[in-house]
Symmetry: C2
Subunit: 266 residues, 2 copies
């Protein structure tokens, strides 16, 4: 008999700055029959960022020369480009409408800065420290309910040469985001070639199936039955060096300057 | 109240060439209480490829000059390199141990050719036509059980600058792999920026959470409660043009020859 698990979408009111995400999750968890030990709670970064007031009004931004250059090159609003620059560790390039950012060891469009579900004239940035947010929410849920959970902050992203967005984990606490299968044997007894599983991204993708991107107001999912991935006290999603990454490795062989371009430390 | 769904891992015997995947799924679906209308059935490509005898014995392969060149450049067995070349539309480059293939509009390491869970001295290639396999299995399940399902063929892959493998759909029948949210409004009534959701990849990732990569013999998952993604008669995952892809767009701006290198039509 194989294992099984269940995913519940948790609807909330429209979130606003100052809302207490942990309290909202506890209150609304009745939609999943309450919070149980071993539940994994996935929270959409956009909803979390809103409660944390990570909102920037475009009219408050004064673009730099660089931002105007990106506006000319990539047809992106210079004020948005300025916010993306300030949110990124470096900018690797762009295509019309988007800059490709390197941030916290991950490549992502526009540094995760998004106008969807933001108040008019505003954009929402990523939460400042998603691991810290996950820990804060985990700790409050433990304190208020006595339940040991894992908490993930998730985003919806495109991948190289894949059509459409899928879920990725950008922060976590109390859950193994990466499991290491190195040394394990396959069906024929030889060592596995695929050695690390992005459990955090898989959990994020499962959660996204009940969340949606539009006006569905389901910023939270509760995943039940996968307590094998609970890892008390563990924090962070883990990242990869560009040289270890097949895609970046190939791109860098073609043009070693690619990901160092426009680094802030210049 | 939000929506919810459930994922069941389906254990099987060790699969061998000639096994009938549809029959095995029907027999073993008792682990999920049988097959229901609206179930989405995810099948690991490696198990499917084995039943379809997509197995190549390394000692049967005579490497070309190009394969020996890749062996020198990327420390990959020339016989494996030869198989990867023959399975790829083009080779974009490599890093030690891996070639980066472009195949059916997707970038992937070693064209999906894998030694894990293959008999000794052999590798398993991807199923020849995953959409066709999905349709065949769908049709047989419909014929034998009268249930309308969606069928996905899934793989475990790394993405650019992400640590670890997550699930992707490489073939499907009867399920919407991509949903188009264009024209939909967000919470504040403006049009969404994120417009296409890779539902197939999200479903694949959810399935992977009960499958594992090692000796777990769980090549199938049944996903129940997401019949909203069932789409009678629809086939194929959809792909993206390199120029529309942010990652490839940036890489190609740096080096336009990147993905045309080593195209077979040369």
């Amino acid at each position: 008999m194989g294992s099984s698990f269940q995913v519940f979408g948790i609807k909330t009111k429209i979130l606003i700055p100052g809302d207490d995400m942990a309290e909202i999750i506890i209150d609304e968890s009745s939609q999943a029959g309450g919070i149980l030990d071993g539940d994994i709670i996935a929270i959409a970064e956009s909803g979390l960022a809103t409660t944390e007031d990570a909102i920037v009004r475009l009219s408050d931004v004064t673009p730099s020369e660089k931002a105007y250059e990106y506006e000319r090159m990539y047809k992106i609003d210079a004020r948005l480009a300025e916010i993306v620059i300030s949110e990124s560790d470096s900018i690797a390039g762009g295509i019309p409408g988007f800059l490709l950012s390197l941030k916290s060891g991950t490549l992502l469009p526009n540094a995760g800065v998004d106008g969807s579900n933001a108040p008019p004239g505003c954009v929402v940035t990523l939460p400042k420290d998603p691991d810290e947010s996950a820990k804060r929410i985990h700790d409050k849920i433990l304190e208020k309910t006595g339940k040991e959970t894992g908490v993930l902050v998730i985003d919806s992203r495109t991948h190289a040469m894949r059509l459409g967005c899928s879920g990725v984990a950008i922060g976590c606490y109390g859950v193994s985001a990466i499991t290491d299968e190195r040394g394990k044997k396959d069906l024929f007894g030889h060592e596995l070639e695929v050695t690390r599983l992005a459990v955090g991204d898989n959990l994020a993708s499962a959660a996204e199936l009940v969340m949606g991107e539009s006006d569905e107001c389901t910023p939270v999912a509760i995943i039940r039955g996968l307590s094998k991935y609970i890892s008390k006290g563990s924090s962070g999603v883990g990242s990869i060096e560009p040289s270890e990454c097949l895609f970046m490795g190939v791109a860098m062989n073609s043009n070693p300057a690619l990901i160092d371009r426009d680094r802030k430390t210049e």
